[in-house]
């Protein structure tokens, strides 16, 4: 027998769940500014999540997808990207979006059932939230091609979940990314659950990262609850792609401490014991403890941060609540660059109906 190929998958972590360092730390672990930025984003995201859930429970937004317990992924990805890079998110990357130019008011508008939430011109080329699973992965390849075609020093970062790696779209996208050597980084938030289906039922593949190897591109696993590992390895993959080094798949192992969305009840399919065990892996106290041990964070800084985040979020919530309702005819006005003649009549009939209801 001749062995034609062998493979292995690296697993990386810098911070243990208790916040103690493990092995040699990357330079960013000594950079207070970066650590503070990561920590602030995680805390802000968690407070935003809490507030959004309260808004949903009181009927002020629709279904909402929390990222509780997975904040290190959003923070690490968001911080690792350069402003000119392009994010192509699914729907659970709250922290990453907040690190970009998405505002809380944009996200609340979106989850509040309003297309204007993805319309903010400051968002530049960043993609809107993608609800269908993994359909954005092939689009990410197209965007990355455009960047490469124009010889721009930009990188596309596409985020998806563990369930998303079961779809043909993902395989097709990583296959093309490899074949065309695209400036594209896929980050998988492996939070162990796709609604009620556990990771063990998604695939027999031992890691999700190794799926990349079949596409001829590197796939690594990292501790997705270690913000330093996420920030370091995502940045490394991004800069490699920027330099023409091609795509990478990063499987960030985390855990969904929340329900799938506010419309879900996770107690139907997973045990309290499992949930409790994973609470110990929470990324937020992990980074806090690390910073405290190095005298990079104080109780006073913590209370100021929480106060400031809450104040900013409240301001944004108020902005959302004060927003004028969308005009009914807007459902026609952005359908095409110019409304086809055929649709004028339908638009007009809506306007007539609305005015007769006044």
């Amino acid at each position: 027998m001749n062995q034609t190929t062998t493979f292995s998958v690296e697993y990386h972590r810098f911070l243990r769940p208790d916040g103690e360092p493990e092995g040699d730390l990357p330079p960013l672990a000594d950079d207070a500014e970066t650590l503070h930025a990561l920590y602030k984003n995680m805390v802000f995201t968690r407070l935003y999540d809490e507030r959004a859930i309260a808004l949903q429970r009181t009927g002020q937004i629709g279904t909402f997808a929390s990222s509780l317990g997975q904040e290190a992924i959003g923070a690490g990805v968001g911080h690792a990207m350069q402003p000119e890079d392009i994010i192509i998110p699914s729907f659970r990357e709250n922290g990453a979006l907040l690190f970009r130019r998405f505002r809380v008011r944009d996200l609340l508008l979106y989850w509040g059932g309003d297309e204007r939430g993805m319309a903010n011109p400051d968002l530049g080329d960043d993609f809107p939230i993608c609800v269908p699973i993994s359909t954005h992965t092939t689009q990410a390849a197209g965007v990355a091609f455009a960047i490469k075609y124009r010889q721009q020093p930009r990188v596309v970062v596409c985020l998806l979940g563990d369930g998303g790696t079961s779809k043909g779209d993902f395989y097709e996208a990583i296959n093309l990314a490899g074949a065309w050597n695209l400036p594209l980084v896929f980050v998988i938030n492996n939070n162990q659950w796709a609604i009620s289906v556990p990771r063990s039922l998604q695939t027999k593949s031992e890691t999700l990262a190794q799926k990349a190897i079949a596409a001829g591109i590197p796939g690594i696993q990292i501790d997705g609850n270690d913000p330093i590992a996420v920030r370091h390895h995502v940045a490394e993959a991004i800069e490699k792609a920027r330099g023409g080094g091609g795509p990478t798949v990063i499987e960030a192992i985390s855990y969904r401490l929340c329900h799938h969305t506010t419309a879900d009840d996770a107690t139907r399919y997973r045990s309290d014991e499992e949930l409790e065990a994973h609470r110990k892996l929470d990324p937020v106290p992990r980074l806090k403890r690390f910073m405290e041990a190095r005298q990079l964070w104080s109780d006073e800084q913590e209370s100021v941060l929480i106060r400031d985040c809450k104040a900013e979020i409240e301001q944004e919530v108020q902005h959302y609540l004060d927003s004028a309702p969308p005009k009914p005819e807007s459902m026609f006005d952005w359908l095409y660059a110019e409304l086809p003649q055929e649709l004028h009549q339908q638009r007009q009939s809506l306007l007539v109906r609305e005015s007769s209801n006044d």
Binding site: A141, G142, V143, W334
Partner: protein, 326 residues
Amino acid sequence: MTDITLVEAVNLALMHEMEHDPEMVVLGQDIGVNGGVFRATVGLLEKFGNERVLDTPLAENMIAGTAVGMAVQGLHPVAEIQFMGFIYPAIDQMVSHASRMRNRTRGRLSCPMVLRAPYGGGIHAPEHHSESTEAMFAHIPGIRVVIPSSPTRAYGLLLAAIRDPDPVVFLEPKRVYRLMKQAVEDNGEALPLDTCFVLRPGSDITLVSWGAMLHETQQAAEQLAGEGIDAEVIDLATIKPIDMQTILESVGRTGRCVIVQEAARTCSVSAEIAARLAEEGLMSLFAPIRRVTGFDTVMPMFRLEGHYMPGTERIVQAVRQTMEFA
């Protein structure tokens, strides 16, 4: 100016636009060295290189999704799906993303892409190579569906589709790819979208069709002229959105209408036109609207496809019945 076929006109339009629009790229299976299985992209690779003429891996969903991503970034991708029978994995991208990008970002992003595919029966192709499922795309808000029926319209409509700021599904009737030749001037002039073309003026009855079936429809009109029936023939050309104004105006004059399509009958484009005529043109009708269509069966394999396709005789028959009614 030389006489060229419909598929050569497609090639000419692609060639012209590639030359004038540096943001345009073409992608698909076998479109490079091979020039496409129908040779629609022949010569593009040699002229524009493999940075703009992209042979893709074999995955239709990915071809469409990649085109969406390219288009959102402002490129003008023209993606080829080899046969319409293999286009269905790409529908997800058209329904869920291409058609919605402008709307769901309130114009921040848009998707100026073209998805080309040969469609229709009548060339004795293998199973899954002969369907006419244009209605599936016509049902999607936010896209256009365009079908040329001659070399001149293939050239002008494809240029218009590529230049359109919104996604266009461009379906090419492969049965007439090489059936006729026309003089097509490579002047870069697009034809209007969202507009029917009146191919033959007439006063007794309006025949509406698109794509390959216009060939039989025009033959029927000639035959009927010999019987003293003066049929107007309309090429729908853009089947989404439908230019009802032209059809209503015509039926307003003739009072009769027969719609001819190769596709299956139920929930088809002909059903939409008939419904719209009933809603908006009923008082000008002398006789019930008739439809000559494929059957609501699976498109048969080629030994039976001749029985499936609505030929000239069925069109003539339907017109005679309509004329006899009133």
